[in-house]
């Protein structure tokens, strides 16, 4: 059918429904059109914009085989209490068919404080596992073969220290660094903008990150050196287009910093990875994932002149949206997570964490985690959604929305470029403000009823408080502090002192790569807090920009 004919038919259709549709009350937040046709994607050049999986611009996926080769990595984020407790949970997940590990660290660890620091009181072992030194890391991975498993670590400001500990544990297991597979989050810019576990100011933070890029390209070549994260930006309240726009703007800043530090783009870009949110609107999310791949490929080719295909491929991990889980009627969350999983899979994710039904209430129980993992397995093996590559390509609606999200995101990226890049935009508070505005609008829409959340503002019931929630042992803090003090009494304190003095000197010399010095320090059992305090002394601490 020619476009003219379609246009004519469309007008006929519009005229025929005009009267009928007017009888229904308008629902807010619907796409502009109720129906999409070939006319909405007539501008798309298939070869240029969509193409084939494994082929530029990777709209249809980064690997040629996608899930016809193997499924995504089913990677459940876990960790709480002590290293011993978390080790048990990891081994349980592996027994249940999880194919990768994902470590959650407690907040003192994420912000570079030891468990006996006064500021850590009440927080030790709460949202993740407490790691004070190499001794804890050895227990965390006890009986887990680091040569086989791939491990993702949600660690940012002190990422270099935790990576060094991981390398040191592997060496003790007889596994060399070049065999290690995994990811450190290592994305400080979104910490300033949305997640909050920063330590140092942007400049030294960017140095730490580029030091890691350089060190890993030579020594830990299979390691994903950064997971540039939109997940937390979305959780903080952004829209889908903002999520990928602000994250890709952060990605541009990292690439620029690394090039400025003298690295060749093709030497590190292939190890950059991304982290997206899978939110409730299934089709919009699929379009978002597809648009993000296309945008990054174009930026890497056209702006940074990358030549290796790997440098242009946006590979990503996905987590289902924690902020969309409801405390009300928590079993409904199983359905939400299943739909979010469908979106991530149809969007071509490389790995996936599915949240558990009880996470609006507490850390997940073992039973809930098992349902969440089973959700991925059902989608993989039973649903058919993973049978064909990029199954929604060619949908008039999804293709049009992919174009729309790309356009919206590029407008933001242009604006951020004009402000001087992501670091400047964060320092001005621009990105934070945009996210906050979207978060506030969402909340007001929920309260006015313009947005329906089942069980929260519609279809509510009287409920009993939920049972079987996980409770972290309240004595974990004391236990961890006791272990830390015993470890300190048994180590060679002279060696620790020397390693920390050496690290301080390295910090003061901007041209020195800090990774070897940090690795040497962790091997003496210098603690995370001791190492970070040396860096605090030289680098200072970040002062947040507060605006409402």
């Amino acid at each position: 059918m020619s476009n003219e004919k379609i246009q004519a038919e469309k007008e006929k259709y519009e005229a025929s429904v005009a009267k009928a549709i007017a009888r229904f009350p308008e629902r807010p937040h619907l796409p502009e059109q109720r129906l999409y046709t070939p006319l909405d994607i007539k501008g798309d050049d298939y070869a240029e914009e969509i193409s084939f999986p494994g082929v530029f611009p990777y709209t249809r996926g980064v690997q040629p085989t996608m899930y016809r080769g193997r499924f995504w990595t089913m990677r459940m984020y876990a960790g709480f209490s002590t290293a011993e407790e978390s080790n048990k949970r990891y081994r349980l997940l592996i027994e249940n068919g999880a194919t990768g590990l994902s470590c959650a660290f407690d907040l003192p660890t994420q912000i570079g404080y030891d468990s006996d620091d006064p500021i850590s009181e009440g927080e030790v072992g709460k949202v993740g596992v407490a790691i004070d030194s190499l001794a804890d890391m050895e227990k965390l991975f006890d009986q887990i073969d680091l040569g086989k498993v791939s491990t993702s670590m949600t660690i940012n400001a002190p990422a270099s220290v935790l990576l060094a500990m991981y390398i040191a544990v592997a060496e003790k297991q007889g596994v060399s660094p070049d065999q290690l597979k995994g990811t450190i989050q290592n994305d400080i810019l979104k910490e300033y903008a949305a997640r909050g576990t920063y330590i140092f100011p942007p400049r030294p933070s960017m140095r730490l990150i580029t030091n890691i890029f350089e060190y890993c390209s030579k020594n830990v070549p299979k390691w994903n050196t950064i997971s540039i994260s939109g997940y937390h930006i979305r959780e903080a309240g952004s829209t889908a287009a903002q999520e990928i726009a602000f994250t890709i703007a952060d990605g541009i800043a990292y690439v620029e910093a690394a090039i400025k530090a003298g690295l060749n783009v093709d030497d590190f870009a292939g190890r950059l990875s991304f982290f997206w949110n899978a939110h409730n609107n299934v089709l919009e999310e699929v379009a978002k994932f597809r648009a993000s791949r296309r945008i990054w490929a174009k930026i890497m080719r056209d702006r940074f002149h990358a030549e290796k295909p790997k440098s242009m491929m946006l590979r990503f991990h996905t987590q289902t949206a924690g902020s969309m889980l409801t405390a009300q009627q928590p079993d409904n969350n199983i359905v939400r997570v299943a739909l979010q999983t469908a979106a991530a899979v149809m969007g071509g994710t490389q790995s996936l964490h599915t949240n558990s039904r009880d996470e609006a209430l507490a850390l997940p129980s073992e039973a809930s985690v098992q349902i969440a993992l089973r959700t991925q397995q059902i989608v993989a093996y039973e649903s058919g959604l993973a049978d064909v590559i990029d199954p929604l390509a060619g949908s008039y609606y999804v293709e049009a929305m992919t174009d729309r999200i790309e356009k919206e995101a590029m407008e933001y990226i242009k604006k951020i470029d004009e402000m001087g890049g992501a670091v400047a935009a964060i320092e001005k508070g621009y990105i934070q403000k945009e996210i906050q505005d979207s978060a506030y609008k969402w909340q007001m829409d929920v309260e006015s009823g313009a947005r329906t959340i089942v069980g929260v503002n519609k279809f509510q019931v009287e409920e009993e408080p939920p049972k079987g929630l996980l409770k972290v042992d309240a004595s974990v803090g004391e236990k961890q502090v006791k272990k830390l003090h015993e470890m300190k009494a048994g180590r060679d304190n002279e060696a620790v002192k020397a390693a920390l003095a050496d690290l301080k000197k390295a910090c003061e010399d901007e041209n020195e790569n800090l990774m070897p010095h940090i690795l040497a320090a962790v091997k003496t059992y210098a603690t995370l807090g001791e190492i970070c305090n040396v860096m605090r002394g030289v680098f200072g601490e970040y002062e947040a920009h507060i605006s409402l």
Partner: protein, 131 residues
């Protein structure tokens, strides 16, 4: 002119999740209150000191890390030590039902959990603040 209700919105502990705190702060401001937001990572001492300095009527704290059983009562005690016995202290975040009675016992007037309407918080403050 009627004196405006002054509220300190605070994030005790180390967690960086302040979407809720900021939404609440803005909703309270839109409801006509004077709102001061502390920013992240405040110690109980810093929060009590800020409440005193800013002479607030309400302290509204948010924690999502699970540190609430430890940190909320600590802030209450410090506020009372500083003579701020009339200040209305409320809390919110990912807080299991089972923890709420102990928090109330410790002096937290109300605990708001996920799914709360901001207008409920506004109403609670209006009905319970002592000025």
């Amino acid at each position: 002119m009627e004196k405006k209700i002054r509220v300190l919105v605070a994030k005790p502990g180390l967690d960086g999740h302040d979407r809720g705190a900021k939404v609440i702060a803005r909703a309270l401001r839109d409801a006509g209150f004077e709102v001061i937001y502390t920013g992240l990572r405040q110690t109980p001492e810093q929060i009590a000191e800020a409440a005193l300095q800013e002479d607030v009527n309400v302290v509204a704290m948010s924690i999502l890390s699970g540190a609430h059983p430890h940190l909320f009562p600590k802030v209450v005690n410090l506020l009372h030590e500083k003579g701020m016995k009339d200040v209305l202290i409320i809390g919110g975040g990912v807080i299991p039902e089972a923890d709420i009675p102990a928090l109330k016992e410790a002096g937290i007037a109300a605990v708001f959990t996920p799914g709360t309407n901001t207008s409920d918080v506004v109403d609670f403050i209006k009905n319970n603040v002592k000025m």
